[in-house]
C-alpha cells in the first residue's frame, strides 16, 4: 500500500510538474498571473478528443499538435494582451483580472461548441502506437498495453506514459533555458526585467516566446488530463489553475525547474492523503498552498537554485 502510494505519487507528481511548469514560466518571465492556465489544459484535452474522434489514432499524436497550436496561439495572445497590460499602473494585479476574463471567454466558447457534458477517452487508446511498433518489429499479437509493473505493483499504462512525457518535456525546458541563446536571454529577463530592457534585449520577443511555450506546455499537459483525472468538462480549467498554483508555489514561483520538485512533492502528498485520509484530500492543495506561502514564500528551492 505504501509503496503503491509512493510510486503512484511520483508518477502523478511528474505529471503535476508538467501541469504547473507553463504557469511558472509565464509568471517568472512576465510577472503575469495566467489565471486562464487551467483553461489551456482543458483545451489541450479537447485536442486529444478531436484526434481520437476525427482521426481515430493514438491520442499521443495530440501532444505535438497541441504544443504547436498553442505555441502559436500564445505568441498571438501575447501581442494582443500583454504589452498593453504592462503599460498600466499595476500589471501584476490587473493580470489576474485580465486573465480571469480570458478564462471566462474560453470556457464560454468551449461550452457553446461542445456543451457542458463530461468527456473522457478510453484509457487503452493511449499508447497504442507503442504496441503497434512492437508488433511490427517483434511480431506477436496486437492488443492494448496492459498495466506497467513497477516494484511488483501494476500501474495503469497512461500514468506511466504521462509521467514519461512530462519528464521529457521538463528536460526540454531545461535545455531551452540553459543551452540555447534564447534561453539565456529568457533567464536574463527573469532575473531583472528592467536591466534586460536597458541592455537592449528584445524583452517582448523573449516574453512572447515564453508565453507561447507556457501555453504549449499547458496544452500538452491537457492531452493527458482525461486519463489522469478520468474526464474533463469546460469548467475543469478553474480547479486546474488552483492546483497548478499550489504546485508552482511549492517548487518556487519564478523558477520553472523548481516546479519539477514541487510537482513530485505535491504528487506524493496527494497520493498519501488519498490513501490514508481520503475525505480530506480535497483540502490538500489549498492548505498546502497557504502554508508554503506563509512559511517559505520563496518555495522549497528558494532563490539558491536561481542564483546558482
Amino acid at each position: 500500500m505504501l509503496i503503491y502510494a509512493l510510486v503512484a505519487g511520483v508518477l502523478f507528481g511528474l505529471y503535476f510538474s508538467l501541469v504547473g511548469i507553463g504557469l511558472n514560466l509565464v509568471f517568472g518571465v512576465m510577472r503575469i498571473v495566467n489565471l486562464a492556465h487551467g483553461d489551456f489544459l482543458m483545451l489541450g484535452a479537447f485536442v486529444a478528443f478531436g484526434i481520437v474522434t476525427l482521426a481515430g489514432i493514438d491520442p499521443l499524436f495530440a501532444v505535438p499538435l497541441a504544443f504547436v497550436v498553442f505555441l502559436l496561439v500564445g505568441v498571438l495572445l501575447y501581442w494582443v494582451l500583454v504589452p498593453r497590460l504592462q503599460g498600466s499602473v499595476n500589471p501584476e494585479m490587473l493580470s489576474i483580472i485580465l486573465f480571469f476574463g480570458l478564462s471566462q471567454v474560453i470556457e464560454a466558447i468551449t461550452t457553446i461548441f461542445s456543451g457542458t457534458s463530461e468527456r473522457s477517452i478510453q484509457s487503452r487508446l493511449l499508447g497504442t502506437v507503442f504496441s503497434t511498433i512492437k508488433v511490427k518489429l517483434f511480431g506477436g499479437k496486437p492488443g492494448p498495453a496492459g498495466p506497467v509493473h513497477i516494484f511488483g505493483q501494476g500501474f495503469p499504462a497512461p500514468w506511466v506514459i504521462a509521467a514519461g512525457t512530462s519528464l521529457l518535456a521538463i528536460a526540454l525546458v531545461y535545455v531551452y533555458l540553459y543551452r540555447t541563446r534564447m534561453g539565456t536571454l529568457t533567464r536574463a529577463v527573469m532575473s531583472r526585467r528592467d536591466e534586460a530592457l536597458a541592455t537592449g534585449i528584445d524583452v517582448d520577443r523573449i516574453s512572447a516566446a515564453a508565453f507561447g511555450i507556457g501555453l504549449g506546455l499547458a496544452a500538452v499537459a491537457g492531452v493527458f488530463a482525461p486519463f489522469m483525472f478520468g474526464s474533463v468538462t469546460p469548467a475543469f480549467g478553474a480547479d486546474a489553475t488552483v492546483t497548478s498554483f499550489a504546485i508552482v508555489v511549492l517548487g518556487s514561483l519564478g523558477n520553472p525547474l523548481g516546479t519539477a520538485l514541487g510537482g513530485v512533492v505535491y504528487g506524493v502528498c496527494y497520493m498519501m492523503v488519498q490513501t490514508y485520509l481520503s475525505s480530506w484530500a480535497d483540502l490538500l492543495p489549498y492548505v498546502l498552498l497557504i502554508f508554503i506561502l506563509l512559511l517559505r514564500p520563496s518555495g522549497l528551492l528558494g532563490r539558491r537554485v536561481r542564483v546558482a
Binding site: V33, V89, M93, V242, L283, I290, L293
Partner: protein, 306 residues
Amino acid sequence: MPSSLKHLLFMVVPLVVIFAVLPGVYQNHLLLFNFVIFLILAQGVNIIYGFTGYLPFGYVGFFGAGAYGFAIMVMQYQTPAVLAVIVAGLVGVALGLLLTPLLRLSGAYFAIANLAASLAVLHFVANPALESVTRGPYGVALSGTFDPNMAYAAAVVVMALTLVFVVFLKNSRFGLALQAVREDSVSASMAGVDVVRMRVIAWLASALVAGLAGGVYAWYVSVFYPDNVFSGDFSIFAIVFALFGGVATITGPIIGVIMLYGIYNLIGFTAPQYFQLIYGLLIMGLVLFLPAGLVSLATRRGWHVP
C-alpha cells in the same frame, strides 16, 4: 457643509431610501435583494482593495463563512435571526483574524493565497465528516427563520452601515493614511503611520461586511448548499463591479453594480454561456482600456469624483 455630510445626504440616504421603497413598487424582490447584496460586497472589496491595494480574490470565503455562521446559530442554538446575523459578521471577522498572516504576502501572492483560503473553507465546511455540524455537502434548510421581508430590511441596514464606513474612509485622515499605505508602505511608516495596524483594521472591516452580507443572504434564501454560498462568482462579481466603477471612491462601486448587474439580469438568465462570453470580453476590455474604472473618465478631465 463638510463633505462627509454632503456624501451622506446626497448619496447614502437616497440610495437607502430607494432600496427601502422599491419592494413596494417592484415585484422581483429577489433581484432587488441581490442588488443590495452586491452593493455591500462591492463596497467591501472597495474597502480592502481600493483603500489598501490587497486584491481579495477569495472574498467569498467571508461571505460563505457568514452564511454558515448564521445557519449554525439557527440550527444548533435556535437563536433569533438578528442575533445570528451579528454572529455571521463576527464569524467573518474571526476568519479574517485567522487569515491576517496572509497580509504579509504582496501582490499576486496575496490574491492567490486568499483564493486558496476561500476554497479551503469551502472544502472544510462541505466535508461529509462534519455533517453533524454543517450538514456537509447536503446543504442546510432553515425553515424556522424564513422571513424574506425582514431579511431584506436587514440587508438594507447592512448596506447603509457599509456605505457610512466608506464615506468615513473617503473623508477621514484614517482613510487618507490607508491610501498612503497602499501607495508606499515604507513612506507611510515614515509619516508615522502604523502600517500593520491600518491594514489589519481595513481587512477586518472588509471581512465583517462580507460576513454580515453572508448572514442576511442565508436568512433570505434559507435553503442553500456550500457551493452556492462559496461560489467564486461572488468574489469575481464584487471585484469586477467595484473595478468597473472605480475603486477608492464612494460612487464607483455603486455605479459598477447598478450598470453591470443590470446588464447581467437583462441578458444573463436565458443563455448563460453567451452571457459568460460577453462578461469575459467586458472584463478584458475593462482591464486593457479603462483600468481605473468609469470614474477615471471624469477624473482624467480634472473633475473630482467622491
